[in-house]
Subunit: 250 residues, 2 copies
DNA sequence: CGTACTATTGACGCAGATCAAGTTCCGTGG
DNA sequence: CCACGGAACTTGATCTGCGTCAATAGTACG
């Protein structure tokens, strides 16, 4: 149970969770599974009404066009939820692929619905997570729409570091990046060839260093500056849970 | 009360709402106000814990960079909600500006929280609306990242038509577009000069026609094709509300 | 030791940006 | 009713960031 530290850290950072909230959460996340990198998740089996919480590993959702062009719409990191809203609403989810081996907790839609209705703090925590995902998506629009390739790359690296740090998957300005240059290209609306050149320019300018799959942010300050990284972006002051008793309220 | 047809149509299309649901909804939307075009909404007065429902008119949220580059992250059309999650969570919302004169319903955060907890169908309807907004945002990422200017413009026009049609603000393949070419540029990650040229190419190719602020989709089929418009995008089969009685569930 | 990703590097082309004028369309006031 | 001023829209000339095409290395696993 307590293995779901990524989820607990993320939700707990936004909303103070009581021990009772935590035990309901643990119950939701009880069913574990592991999938290999490359496994398609949620591909068309919308019948299931189930979602996943990411305990470890990375996944991504993408859109493919007729002619093969591809755009990654979203990355799922440890602490993120996959297909939550779709499960709650009973709607189909777009195709999602595991990028690395992943540990997942399978969440039952109906059980989740009940739990959120009973525990207001949990509901707010999930709502916050959802809101944060939207923020990220909208900042990606800003990135692809208005930032240069150099700035885009700087921005995503800083963003990923902050997201991973929150769940304990990064520290000391270093983290493991399982994305290939092709993935980065499809994520940022560029070509892998250009990613390669710009990545190397970031190294030459001494903003980052790369050893294998490990990225080190050599100069976080200059990276933030280059990316015009909004300091308020993804910063979570704790949400206050309005009183009003749990579950009752009729 | 019943003036909030845009909201009722939109939510009702996704989730069947009982007359009781509707009366709770009406109560939420009771407080009306009108703002002039250009009015800033939600700028930093995060203290209020209130949100808006758009009854008529358009607004947009944007991101400005140090050097003046601008990106519109999101458009708000009739039937959309502004700052809902932020109000529920008590978090600050990013700057939003009214583009035209707007009729709004002011929603109290605390009251909303209570209402959603009492009425499961309403909660799901709001959740659905939120999910749809995220879909739109992710499709925008795909658009800016991988579509050409010509395709992007085709896509946004088709998307806006479908969004407006749902609330009764467009029909017969025509609608009023209050956006200037500058707005379109900032929305699609282009320059207004290029928007101008591409718009004219769409007219020359007989895909659209423009009279003043009215856009007519001359050939919706070809537009869908050019844009590689996903037919499932924004289509809402009705959500089924799981049984499980309202409000109780302990 | 091949087969298949993944990364790297160079030459060249183009979609869309930038720069620089206009021009039309209004609303406002004289 | 016309003059003025300021958005919004047009149009052309030129430039450039990034894409495309093509080829070469690593690397990694079976």
């Amino acid at each position: 149970m307590e293995a779901a530290t990524a989820i607990r850290r993320k939700l707990g950072a936004a909303v103070p969770l009581s021990s009772e909230d935590l035990s309901v959460l643990d119950a939701l996340l009880a069913q574990r599974l592991t999938v290999a990198g490359g496994t398609p998740l949620m591909s068309e089996r919308q019948t299931e009404r189930s979602a996943y919480a990411v305990l470890s590993g990375w996944a991504y959702r993408y859109r493919v066009f007729e002619d093969g062009r591809r755009q990654i719409a979203r990355l799922f990191l440890p602490g993120d939820f996959i297909g939550l809203n779709a499960a709650l609403l009973g709607l189909p989810e777009q195709p999602i692929t595991a990028m690395t081996e992943m540990q997942l907790a399978k969440i039952d839609g109906a059980q989740l619905l009940e739990s959120l209705q009973k525990r207001r703090a949990l509901w707010l925590a999930f709502l916050w997570s959802d809101t944060r995902d939207r923020l990220i998506s909208e900042e990606r629009v800003a990135s692809i729409g208005r930032r240069s390739a150099y700035e885009r790359l700087a921005h995503i690296l800083v963003e990923l570091y902050h997201r991973l740090e929150l769940t304990g998957n990064a520290s000391d300005d270093r983290f493991t990046l399982p994305l290939t240059q092709d993935h980065l290209a499809d994520l940022l609306g560029l070509t892998s060839i250009h990613i390669n050149r710009v990545l190397r320019r970031l190294k030459r300018d001494n903003l980052i260093s790369v050893e294998g799959r490990t990225i080190a942010l050599v100069s976080p300050e200059r990276l933030h500056c280059v990316a015009d990284y909004d300091s308020r972006y993804l910063i979570h002051r704790s949400v206050t849970v309005p009183s009003g008793n749990e579950a009752s309220s009729l």
